[in-house]
Amino acid sequence: MAYIHESDRQYILGKYHKLDGTFDSHNRFIRNDEYFDSSTGMDGDALVANLLLQDEQIAGQPHAIRKAKAFAYVLKHTRINCDAHDRFPHINAMDRPINKALIKRWKAEVLDEIIPEVGQKRRCMEKDGVATIWPDFDHIVPDWDRVFELGFSGLLHESEQAKNLLSQTHDLSETEIAFFDSVAISYQAIFDLIRRLANQAGKVSGCMRMSAALERLIDHAPQTFYEALLLDYLLFILCEHIEGIQVRSLGNLDRLLYPLYKRDLEYGVSKEELCTDLAHFFMQFTAIGNYWNQPVYLGGCKADGTTEINPFSYVFLDVHNALGIYNPKIQIKVASNTPKDFLLKALDMIRHGNNSIVFVSDALLRRALMNAGASEEDARTCNVKGCYEYNINGGLDTGMNYVNFMKPLEYCLHEGCDGVTGKQSGLPCCRVEEYASFEQLFKEYKRQLLYMLDEVMDVVNRIEDYLEYINPQPVMSSTYITCLQHGKDCMCGGAKSNESNMACGFLADVADSLTIIYKYVFEQKRITLRELVTALDANFDGYEQLRLRLSNDRDKYGNNRELPDRIAKEIIDTSSSYVMGKPNARIRAGKWTCGYHVARMSYTQGKLTAASANGRRLGDELSKNVSASMGKNREGATAAILSATKLNADQFVGDAALDLGLLPSAVKGKDGLEAMYALLMTFINRGGQAMQINVFDADTLRKAQREPEKYQDLQIRVCGWNVLWNNIAKEEQDGFIRQAESLV
């Protein structure tokens, strides 16, 4: 069943960007001005120019007000459209005019003028591949429960009430007044925009239903399934593309939408009609085409312990599967009582190539959050966001840094200097001849590692003092009850939790390299540390036999081997216990958390990382998340799971995802599906955090590389999101082929 007319599908696909040109989904700024009727407003360039003019007039006002006025300007003047082929309106702000006009400028001001020394340090760290740090507006989840319960008018009403209450306790400060005013200005603009959209829809034959639903959303919380989808979509566009903050979850949508879905069915709306609404909703995100994919999550547990999976959860998967899309991407919170048939449905999608799905452990998330001090209720209702990160609902946690754990090892082996640039970036330390034991070297590694973490935390803390200055968030903040209670923007400590997450990278490469040093240098004494470092410095040129020996050595993390797994765990324990709970930015007054997450850094930081003792050459791809190094999971899926679940992922609040590769032949048939289920549940029961699966074989991937035209639908899970095989670089494809070749 298709759930959507082909012509509608094509219409939506062309709505956000032109289909004939090259579309760079990684660069998320998308233009399609020609698509709109010019009588409905200005084009993108005019908007930006006028925003700059308007902002000059009010330059002395707080950023919150300037931002809200810019927001209002865009909503009033941007082009809009409604079409009978589409159940959702279109607002021309896909290229984020406020980012261009204000946020970019304010960010540069902070990094270049207010704290230039921090900006400089940040650039250096990025250039050397030590850490990638940026002011993070990318990992935010609105409080969708409040959004669905209150609607826009209810949210504004609560803001007004909160302002009154607060003013009874004290005279509101200028910042508090600016915050509440910014919310009021933004909401007025939202109501005007929705009215404008409703009028526009009213003029188009075939859009009366959309028009009426939009009308109702001005004054009401959503009363129907379709209205709820519209609201979800509108808030997404308003926050992500206009306010300029990534909405990193569309919400726990099976739970949130089910009551309205059920009621619509009871009122006689057909299931087909509701599925078509859902298909149109999904296709918006497919068409927007965010490179990292748009997350939405399902499942979890109710307060009484029963599962949140409901009949609509199944419909959700069915429609997604039938569309054959990978964007939005789906996260499933798996508990021991998540219905097996639901998980089998998801696993069946995965083995048939629709693998834009990750399984996240409900129990592990709860334990980790509670270990870090969260209440039972907050832990139960936590959001899954981004790739597989999580935080308590109503919290605003950033994740603005990727740290390269290979660098401290380079420092250890080069007297504190970077192995590529030779720069003194680490702490001064001894010559390699002076390491008398492995323990001494490992101790030095940890000292260098903690120093690097301190350096990164310092840079991040200083930048995060200016998050609100760079990008205040009236609309997003208004969804958080605590922001209203405190009269404070979510960017400067108004949210329920205000944590900063350290994303630590390349666990397997570090563990494997240290294992090699342990075995070859100190235990078996086959080579001196100096000889090894000489080979590394030569990037193994002239040492190919040595490189192969080190690369082939079977003691690699991810294969349930005692030594590398123990070293990996020790690195995690050392880093997470050090980072967890450290204070973050003064203004945010939150804490640091710690996860093992690499995103695309395995490629980008890999290019800047020296040859390593595990036989990896300079510039080669590094390992992902808590998975084995590329192509080194020789003992297969069960061993990978055993290794990953030794890491005590409940001792830190952050992700520790396992990327699993499986052969199509292993997962065929009923046996194969049951085996996938058993792998998943063993992972969950043993305390794993998140698991994602690629089902592929090297032959098919090689064929797809040779004949891309025949594999235009082939999608691959990169690292928490999917892309089309044909859209990744050859070297990235080669990495996956190597991984597939090693599958047993």
Binding site: Q545, L548, R549, N552, N560, E635, G636, A637, T638, A639, I641, L642, A666, V667, K668, G669, K670, D671, G672, E674, A675, Y677, A678, L679, M681, T682, N685, R686, V744
Partner: protein, 300 residues
């Protein structure tokens, strides 16, 4: 007690119930032309050499105590007769071009390896399968191993060609949960032609086994041109239909193992035929169904 192990495969999904670890033992009583585990036939250790992966580095020659590896202008040559199966060359081979099939391992050595995936066994109803070669050539070893596994409540399965004395079955019966039992042809003369032996003992053992109240899955390598004709299928169906069989897996022939023959320096006997089509498989399954056999395609 020990046995010669040719390989251990973890996450074996189609060798019995659930997720299993399959232990391959060396030595076989049949010589099936299509054999896809030719490394299991001989009861001696064998060194496989994948020439295309060889880096010609000569490390194997340096570590071999018996002069198996020789390097000359013509490249890398192997004196296989001199190999005693120590495995040193495999360990040192930089190109992964060498693989030793056949390491002596005793039950105590194997036990922790086989139990590594115990959690997965428990969550999937899986366990350990012994295969080969013909594992019942090592019936006493299998019994000792399975007794130990049973004490840990691990599910056990034997994958057998059936061509062993009944006594071998009797030894493992009390500690085996599932038998994976091969049927290759119903006509004894044809069976002899294709496997080197007649099928009388195989059919008789199966008949006796089916009276022992043990779970049996029949496995039939389905090889076009060898045993794919309707008469053969009807014959097999009629025989099995009278027995106490749980299910039957029809395994479509493929020649992925051809490379192994060359690597082991064995004469390639694999039929030069295409893998059966889905339609042909479905047809075979239908014939078997008509005799009341719960057959299904191994592709499903």
């Amino acid at each position: 007690m020990d046995a010669l192990i040719s390989d251990i495969k973890r996450f074996a999904v189609h060798d019995g119930d659930g997720i299993r670890t399959t232990l391959f033992l060396k030595g076989c009583t049949l010589r099936c032309v299509w054999c896809h585990n030719p490394e299991g036939i001989s009861a001696r250790p064998e060194l496989a050499y994948y020439a295309e992966r060889c880096l010609q580095c000569g490390v194997c020659a340096e570590v071999c105590p018996n002069g198996v590896h020789e390097f000359s202008d013509k490249g890398h040559a192997l004196n296989r007769d001199l190999c005693l199966g120590c495995g040193k060359c495999e360990e040192e081979c930089l190109g992964n071009a060498l693989k030793l099939y056949g390491r002596k391992m005793d039950v105590d050595m194997l036990f922790p390896v086989l139990l590594e995936d115990e959690d997965f066994f428990r969550n999937s109803g899986g366990g350990v399968t012994v295969s080969g070669g013909e594992p019942l050539l090592h019936a006493e070893f299998v019994r000792e191993l399975f007794e130990k596994l049973k004490k840990h409540s691990v599910n056990t399965a034997v994958d057998t060609c059936g061509h062993v004395p009944w006594d071998a079955f009797e030894r493992v019966l009390p500690v085996t949960d599932l038998f994976l039992y091969d049927i290759k042809h119903i006509d004894s003369a044809m069976h002899k032609q294709l496997t080197g032996m007649g099928n009388e003992r195989i059919l008789e053992n199966l008949q006796r086994l089916s009276e022992c109240n043990k779970r049996i899955e029949i496995r039939m390598p389905f090889v076009p041109g060898c045993n794919s004709d309707d008469d053969t299928l009807h014959g097999i169906g009629a025989f099995l239909g009278k027995l106490n069989i749980e299910r039957m897996r029809v395994l479509p022939y493929h020649d992925l193992a051809r490379g192994k023959y060359a690597a082991l320096n064995l004469i390639d006997t694999m039929p030069q035929v295409e893998a059966p089509t889905d339609e042909l498989l479905a047809h075979a399954v239908e014939i078997l169904h008509s005799h009341g056999v719960q057959a299904f395609s191994g592709r499903e």
